[in-house]
Symmetry: C2
DNA sequence: TAATTAATTTAGACAAATCTAAAAATATGT
DNA sequence: ACATATTTTTAGATTTGTCTAAATTAATTA
């Protein structure tokens, strides 16, 4: 009953299933996986059979899939590697947060326990990646955060930007341009009724900044003490 | 006339062809590639056809192969990536020189110009990897060295260990155990006629060390000023 | 140089991961 | 609840990189 080896492709499927599970939008369907991966539904069905044979997912035809403990662990370890590399690329090599995802997609499949133990230590066991996503530790445990979407901030509340819900390069570059980067503190000055947009005042600045509801939904914040 | 994309597998073939070319043992044959890669000769023939179609090698049936400029460039860039990563793994992460090869074999296929520019700068543009092999710069130029095998050292000559001709983990661990690591300086005290072994005195030590011809052939040294 | 041996290539097959088109199962709407 | 629409699966094909066995070419040796 050995750990059968898991291919890169299989790792990618598990990662996507994990992410769909995390979103908790009910059943994980063949089509949702197909759509997220840009792969034909028939190909997904095929792979689900293989992952099921390897006991990485449980799968009944037409009924959607779920991760087994072993499949979940594999997925979490891929995510751990991805986020550790992203941290490295930004903090050590000085790449920007909008250009590390693609590179980390490649690096996340490197196989070497020891490498990742050493990398983790070298980076001082970071808890979060450059987008504010938690980095699971070597046992697969995540740090819990109480981040909420900016769209649910209270008037006059003081918050800290701690994450993003949209990882696209375009969105990240928009945030960089407007100075809404991780760690930035702000106070909600106004909440517009008609379009749910905000006027915020960033700490250390003078001019208020308008933030649309679209943007606010994609920004994750935590309450700062006033 | 675009750069067609080169698969990981193709990169590995080009790297092996490059290394066989470097050894300059005459014609690069199907069987030498087969042997070095542990892949059946028939499979190699097949791949040579593909590489030839892509103009990465020139290949006439039964006549052996040689790299085209484009194939050589690809090979050199793979070697550059491999050696940069090895340097990183040893100097930054603290892995030992006998355990980095396998990991670098995976890392050498990561695609991102920018990553390697940044990594190179981060490592301060190293000229040599942990085994003393030269790291080509971003234009593919190698630093020239005048290393010779230790087996051709002169009696009473003073030398510096600067490289290895055998990269196996076993050999590297043997060197580590006996303290014959890169940068170590020594003087040749005796040269045995009957077995071509040496007695050397390492700088800063008191006891002479016996080095068999087998070992001496696999150690690369440069003359030190006396 | 002719015969034998060795190296190389060809032919045909296979596994992994994908595709398209068609069939089957499930879900939806009046 | 039945007809229709959607989702999922099956079937069969394709590409890449590999294999073994057989055929062909080149090299060696008697």
């Amino acid at each position: 009953m050995q750990n059968k080896s898991v291919s890169q492709t299989e790792e990618n499927y598990l990662k996507v299933i994990y992410k769909l599970d995390e979103k908790a939008e009910g059943k994980i369907s063949t089509s949702s996986i197909s759509e997220m991966m840009g792969i034909a539904p028939a190909s997904v069905t095929d792979m689900l059979g293989k992952l099921s044979d390897k006991k990485l997912i449980s799968y009944k035809k037409y009924q959607g899939v779920s991760l087994t403990p072993s499949g979940r662990k594999t997925a979490v370890m891929v995510i751990r590697k991805h986020r550790l590399w992203e941290h490295f690329l930004v903090e050590k090599l000085g790449l920007s947060w909008d250009e590390v995802h693609e590179i980390a997609e490649q690096l996340e499949h490197i196989r070497s326990e020891k490498l990742f133990d050493k990398l983790d230590a070298y980076l001082k066991f970071p808890k979060f990646d450059p987008h504010g996503d938690p980095i699971p530790d070597s046992n697969g445990n995540f740090t819990n955060t109480s981040a909420i979407p900016m769209s649910s901030c209270n008037l006059n509340g003081k918050y800290l930007i701690t994450g993003v819900a949209d990882h696209s390069a375009e969105f990240l570059r928009y945030l960089t341009r407007t100075g809404m980067i991780l760690g930035c503190q702000f106070t909600v000055k106004e909440k517009q009724e008609y379009d749910n947009s905000f006027l915020i005042l960033k700490q250390g600045t003078k001019n208020e900044l308008a933030v649309s509801n679209e943007i606010a939904k994609k920004l994750l914040v935590t309450k700062a003490r006033d």
